[in-house]
Amino acid sequence: MAIEDDVLVIGGGLAGATAALAAAEEDVRVRLVSYKQSTLRHASGLIDILGYTPAGEGPLVDPFDALEGLPEGHPYERVGTEAVREALEFFDDIAGDAYDGAHTDANALVPTHGGTVKPTARYPASTAAGLASDDRDTLLVGFETLPDFEAPLAAAHLEAAGAPFAARGVTVRFPGLVRDDAKVTRYAHLLDHDEAVTTAAGETTARDALAETVRGHLEDETRVGFPAILGDDHAAEVRADLGERLAVDVFEVPMGPPSLPGMRLEDLLYDALEDAGVRVTTGVPVVDYETESDGTDATGPDRIDRVIVDRHGAEVPHRADQYVLATGGLVGKGVDSERERVFEPIFDCHVPHAADRYEWFVDDVFGDQPYARFGLPVDRDLRPLDAGDEPEFRNLRAAGAVLGGYDFAAEKSGSGVSLATGYAAGQRAGREGGE
């Protein structure tokens, strides 16, 4: 017996979770299998659609205007602008109050921990008071023990970039932490639970102590930004509490990995998966597949009959009618490489690349890197194509960073492509799987 479902999604990041949620809208049984934790924990939590064109023009004011001009083969071109809009609405419904930005098509400009601004379509509510288009003067507060965010430098960068407000940065000691290398989850836990902490002033609570630490540095700024460690499960409450004590608006500046806004997004998606009745299996990899071998239809692409999940040596077959591959790109390991080739490890789908590995990259680190576009080519139904442009399988679709033909880091399109292709692949898999 295999473990049976109608739709099986492989991969648990933004694309996989969106695909599973979209499929679950139909009347089908959906399972999501994820090996290790997804790269959402590396993610800023920002939902970008398109910040720059593939030619590097930008930051774009309206990403939707630019979608029509994308080259053939770009994931957005494959699914079409309408699917991008639908996917974003789908996300807005799931995110509810946790995200802002749905009031306009235009990109928002969110300050990052480096003091640059990132064009993005949606942003966590925790970052809302910090937008660079807002002209209120800003105090950025960094912590000695979190060197990833150098507040005075970030403030100087923002001013140099022409932000329409005065920005100032200070670095303080986070009250109540004894370790220099405490994890971001430890900061968040202290604030979430408003734990008792001991400072020079005596015993107090974590939120009080932090507010008191910042108070002396506050001049006439009306908003204060912190690195994104302000709570996990109770982040809104932590921000409100700090804001009330300091009589300012408090916001978070998204950080590099590991990232609490990314983890909160992950929680939000997995809660939605549970509510939608999606069955989730984590911690084990899909390692192989078998095709149907009844021989009734020898022409055309194969159908995947089952995939094999490895549980520490035991092979557990999982069967579904429709499959979605959302295993990520080079970082998520949905696309892998050896010295001689670039490949997709589960189904060995075709990944176009130069035979000579010295053509996989260019010397300019920030140049137009061919490897950044490595991934699966797909048809307009998101089915991976073989070297002859024929679908590899009849019942496999691909979504997210496993797709090729775009450079999400340069375009700032990673989340949007995952949402749009995850949504489209999941919806189609759900409809076909229900037939």
Partner: protein, 442 residues
């Protein structure tokens, strides 16, 4: 084998001329360098560590694993004593996006620390040795279970345990059953079903033998109901508490027995099933990571969680469709143990129970229970253990249920301790649905 001995470009002309370079001086039992090299410092493991989130003295899995391994290449470096703060929940293993064998690194570092740095006459060593070797003490307690339960329940005993040994006096010791699972098995005349084609060997572990034989009995009734011949091979502790306490030599002895006995059962045509999620974890993952007895890999590949085995080898959903359980079960607050999570079994119980009428289960989320075997029994860890457990306790209280459900013995102790709920094992629910309760069958 080190990287240096392993040419990476297999098949490329010129391989024959590859000359290995010895990068590190000492030959080790186990080369962890590739694992250390795979770490790209994303810190995802750290954000999954339940201890680092609440305990300021613990530097987290990234340090305990790859960083400490690298530091150890310097001759003058000892293992940092914070390694004993790791609870061995193994959540870092399933967190790592780069396949770094974190728990293997922790287990070896802890073993080295205990072997070379821990004072053998210290209270900590003696206490840990006792906790790790529960399997050796349990038969004594089990000989006179009522007396033992009475004595262990005395507040004077708990006070002594805390003062003399550093075992927390906050917890009540688990009660010994008046008849062990193996005694029951022998008394009933062993297997009641013979079947050459469907045969399993049951790894009951210590807890369902000495403390909760009802779990083992439920497994026997469910599997016999489905036509399986059951073997109950000789066995020792799975080793989980020994790994967690750095007692690798004790673990090695136990593992050797288990691999030999279970290997023989496999040769007789059986697959191995375990009812405890930490036992199956140990046989499947830790044995092949730490030991290389003949047959270790084969035992690992043929070991299953008892419910998972039925899902894959039977139409369990079909069998359960339309079944019901009586009033003996209320609604459940279900906690997936970390060691089940690591085997991809986190959603299994909720899925399996769904078709049974009369059982409502609520998953209380992905937090760690905090007890992690022997960890939460140590006086110095008690407070941390309860802080970690807080999230689970809150979610249990929020769930519309008055009883708990889980597959791990020590998680069940923690669930009971934190909420006062009675805790059931999933196999007992399957037994009630498929076979009826013990009372029905008599």
């Amino acid at each position: 084998m080190s990287d240096a001995e392993q040419p990476t470009d297999d098949g490329v002309p010129g391989d024959d001329e590859f000359e290995p370079i010895q990068v590190f001086p000492e030959a080790e039992d186990m080369d962890l360098r590739p694992g250390a090299d795979d770490c790209y410092k994303c810190s995802t493991c750290d954000t999954n560590c339940p201890v680092a989130e609440v305990d300021d003295e613990f530097p987290g899995p990234k340090f305990q694993g790859p960083e400490q391994w690298r530091l150890k290449r310097q001759d003058d470096r000892d293992i940092d004593d914070s390694v004993m703060k790791c609870s061995n929940c193994m959540r870092c293993d399933s967190a790592c996006p780069s396949d770094v064998p974190l728990s293997q690194m922790h287990n070896t570092a802890r073993g080295e620390y205990v072997e070379e740095q821990m004072e053998k006459f210290s209270r900590e060593y003696v206490r840990n040795r006792i906790l790790a070797n529960y399997r050796r003490l349990a038969p004594l307690g089990s000989m006179f279970p009522r007396t033992t339960n009475f004595v262990m329940g005395l507040s004077a005993t708990q006070w002594l345990g805390e003062k003399v040994l550093g075992i927390t006096g906050e917890r009540e010791f688990p009660e010994f059953a008046t008849e062990t699972f193996r005694e029951w098995w022998t008394a009933r005349g062993g297997a009641q079903v013979r079947n050459e084609d469907k045969r399993i060997a049951y790894f009951h572990g210590c807890y369902s033998n000495y403390n909760t034989p009802e779990v083992g009995k439920a497994l026997v009734r469910v599997y016999e109901h489905l036509g399986y011949e059951i073997m109950v091979p000789d066995q020792h502790c799975s080793g989980t508490p020994m790994f967690a306490n750095g007692m690798l030599e004790d673990a090695r002895r136990s593992a050797e027995t288990n691999v030999r006995e279970l290997g023989a059962a496999i040769a007789d045509g059986a697959d191995i099933v375990a009812s405890c999620s930490s036992c199956s974890m140990s046989l499947r993952q830790e044995y092949p990571e730490l030991f290389d007895f003949e047959g270790t890999e084969e035992v690992a590949a043929n070991t299953w969680d008892a419910v998972e085995y039925l899902r894959v080898h039977e139409d369990l959903e079909g069998e359960l469709e339309g079944t019901s359980v009586g009033d003996e079960f209320e609604n459940f607050a279900y906690h997936a143990p970390c060691h089940a999570r690591n085997q991809g079994l986190d959603g299994q119980t909720m899925e399996v129970l769904a078709p049974i009428d009369g059982v409502e289960a609520r998953d209380v989320g992905d937090s760690c229970s905090g007890i992690s075997g022997t960890y939460g029994w140590k006086a110095e860890n008690y407070e941390t253990s309860m802080k970690i457990g807080d999230e689970m306790f809150d979610h249990m209280e929020d769930a519309d249920a008055e009883t708990g459900l889980t597959e791990c013995p020590t998680c069940s102790m923690q669930m009971e301790h934190g909420t006062g709920y009675e805790i059931t094992h999933t196999l007992e629910v399957l037994e009630a649905a498929l076979v009826g309760t013990e009372a029905d069958s008599q």
